[in-house]
Symmetry: C2
Subunit: 253 residues, 2 copies
DNA sequence: TCGAATTTGTGCGTATGTATC
DNA sequence: GGATACATACGCACAAATTCG
């Protein structure tokens, strides 16, 4: 079991970072220095640093150097509707609880459902939907991307056609739907993770190859989907927190 | 914005995979062929394939070739206790629902709490705990790793000291704790993602650099943590699914 | 303001070890 | 055994960005 040189080198550097020998924001030795210190070729040094970059430990800035990234404890985003407050944003209230300020930008457009979105909304592919894109900011820094889709068959010709406009603009989905007598009763969320897409990396200000957590959320009114959304955050900056009561099955007997 | 050659090449190959031009289990052209086809050096071909490997699209087998990985729809693991059945395993019942068979192996040891675990269990660092490691198998293939910790102060000198032994062996945490009159009332789960660790990669049979989703779970009896665990799965093979009722706040007014 | 040195990211050609066929 | 393929490793080169005198 011969561990390759570049991985042993990455192990060593990672250790130095974790133990505080290379503190956050400090500069990692340049690749010329590294290859001399470790007595390896410059390519091996490049590979070692690349591993650490993929893991989110360091970030290279061309022309300047490679720097240890800040690794603050991930900020917590609570899931579940219990903490949605009328007229407020779950994101903003989560951040407020951590002494930060959440704001957002959004834009809506009417388009047609792709097959994947149609399946999630249980409508015909090509049916009209309102797509809204959000960029959530945490103390002004991009933090979370969301794209939501609502069938025009539900919200069309009502006051809530566009999530961020009208008297219910900015309200939660449950509240908005209630305004047109749609009772949202359940929420389902599927949590996955994948490498960041190039477009997202730009918006979230994370390096290429960084890991994002994706939540695929659907609001249901009875059995009928009323809204579905994709929520994307950088995995090393945010974590999703769920809380629920323990099983009733144990209480029954 | 000049996209580097190896990334454009990776884009092209990724497209071919997604569109089915390179179907699952098929062999990607060797790097000699690739470098000839794309008129680049073999190193560039290596870099391009490496990108796809990191994304989970392909997997190299030394001496044989590089193959497109199966990308079955991720199997769903439902979270929340509502589906825990007395005497059964949530994992097994999830897989049974998808026509598969879930089994597991486990081993327990008594050890002392690290500072991180102590904080999660709200006990003193160094206090004795029972650590249990699980490997869950999906139709015989490794699928999910779990490590759980229980304070010996709670379970010591009882029938349930070891989760998998005794009359309550293999039962859920809620049921086991109920057996010693500990009423588990709440569960919290924090969901994160990161690159797989080498030890995990070996156990889960995923390539180095693959992404795993990690759930940090804690069972609470009132305010007192009774058990905490880390659950690890390959991000492209499993997804966690949460479901909960929509906000009561909308129903109130 | 300018230029020289440094640094990262990328690219090329080659070589070796080992696994597979 | 021989051919092929991947993973790793070495050394070099260049462009673009940054730094600094």
């Amino acid at each position: 079991m011969n561990r390759p040189t570049y991985l042993r080198m990455a192990d060593d550097l990672r250790q130095k970072i974790i133990e505080g020998d290379l503190p956050p924001r400090s500069r990692v030795p340049s690749r010329a220095q590294l290859s001399k210190q470790y007595e390896v070729s410059d390519r091996v040094a490049v590979e070692a640093v690349r591993v650490l970059a993929a893991e989110g430990f360091v970030e290279g800035r061309p022309g300047s150097g490679t720097y240890v990234r800040e690794r603050a404890a991930p900020r917590r985003l609570r899931r579940g509707d219990f903490h949605e407050r009328a007229g407020g944003s779950a994101f903003a209230s989560d951040l407020a609880a951590q002494g930060r300020t959440g704001t957002w930008r959004s834009s809506s457009e009417t388009t047609t459902a792709t097959p994947a979105i149609a399946a999630r909304l249980d409508i015909e592919p090509g049916a009209p939907v309102v797509r809204t894109d959000y960029v959530y900011l945490d103390d002004g820094e991009p933090a979370m991307l969301t794209a939501s889709w609502e069938p025009l068959a539900i919200t069309g010709d009502t006051l809530i056609t566009h999530p961020e406009d009208g008297p219910f603009g900015g309200c939660g989905v449950v509240e908005r739907m209630a305004a047109i007598d749609i009772a949202v009763t359940r929420v389902t969320e599927q949590v996955t993770a994948r490498p960041v897409l190039d477009g997202e990396a730009h918006l979230l200000d994370v390096p290429r190859g960084a890991i994002v957590v994706v939540v695929r959320r659907t609001y249901l009114a009875g059995e009928r989907p009323a809204e579905t959304a994709d929520v994307v955050v950088a995995a090393d900056r945010y974590e999703f927190s769920y809380e629920f009561p323990a099983a009733a099955s144990a209480a029954a007997p």
